[in-house]
């Protein structure tokens, strides 16, 4: 399964990639903002998206809305520092399937990914 990780922090992308590899997902592609995320998505084969919210050029919310305009089915997990209830609801309304607040534990990421794929 190919997973697209969109986050402007290279450290955070590495942490997510490490966590994914520990739970058996090694096929990943990376984008550093919504724009490059869309480019990677356009290259095909992506079956799940993990995206940050606060990013330059195109933020995670706009990215999710754009993706949802083209693909209603692909599972999207938002991983962000935004913890306010209004933010979570706004992300869900935009089309996010699940939501993780940073900092997270690998167990939480695993649980959320499995619930999306299950």
């Amino acid at each position: 399964m190919k997973i697209l990780i969109v986050d402007d922090s290279s450290t955070m992308r590495r942490i997510i990639i490490n966590t994914l590899s520990r739970i058996g997902y090694t096929d990943v592609v990376e984008g550093e903002n919504g724009k490059s995320g869309l480019e990677k998505l356009g290259q095909g084969g992506v079956e799940m998206i993990i995206t940050d919210w606060n990013m330059p050029e195109m933020d995670g919310l706009e990215f999710v809305k754009t993706v949802r305009g083209q693909n209603a089915a692909i599972p999207i997990l938002m991983v962000t520092t935004n913890a306010a209830k209004e933010d979570i609801v706004e992300a869900l309304q935009a089309g996010v399937n699940n939501y993780v607040v940073k900092p997270f534990t690998p167990e939480t990421l695993k649980e959320k990914i499995e619930s999306l794929l299950g």
Binding site: E57, G60, T81, L92, V101
Partner: protein, 199 residues
Amino acid sequence: MDQSEIDALLAGGGKPPKKPKAAAKAPVAEPMPAASAASVQAEPHKDGSGHVISELDTVTSVTERESNKVMDQLDQISQLVARQQQLVTDMMRHEGAQSPGAQKAIHEVMSASKEIQDKVFEAMDLMQFQDITRQKLERIVHHLRQIHDYIVDLLGTGLKSDQERPSISHTIAQTGTTPDENKAHADAVIEAFKSQKKG
């Protein structure tokens, strides 16, 4: 949001409070929009505040670069431990290693090795602090700029109401530093949203 509000949301099936449009543009309790994040880093202010922003940008870039170096080192330790585990596994097959004493020692080495691997992964996960600190700094810069603009505006146009004053404490306080400290809260909001959608 406290537990009573979460409970009310879960029980009442009431609509989750929508962000008032006017408030969405207000500086209070708002995550910094990405466009602002970009402008914070890109536009130097004529009054020299751009210098501070640029300094902060440099600080975050350096910490990100250094964090990646730490991650490289941790990756290398992880690979060395994996290599060590492979060597010990190979050793276990040798005839000379079949005695109970040797087997016990090998198991102890394997167990210690696994513990090191777990600690390496734990250290990698802790590196999330870099991204979180970076975002906190960006928010502080964003709010500093708003305070700056407010003061400039205030001196030009007179006193504004309290509501219009920028507040950073709420937004900064929302950004946690302990892993999963916001998980229960986020899960409760997701559940409430889903049950409201079903209903």
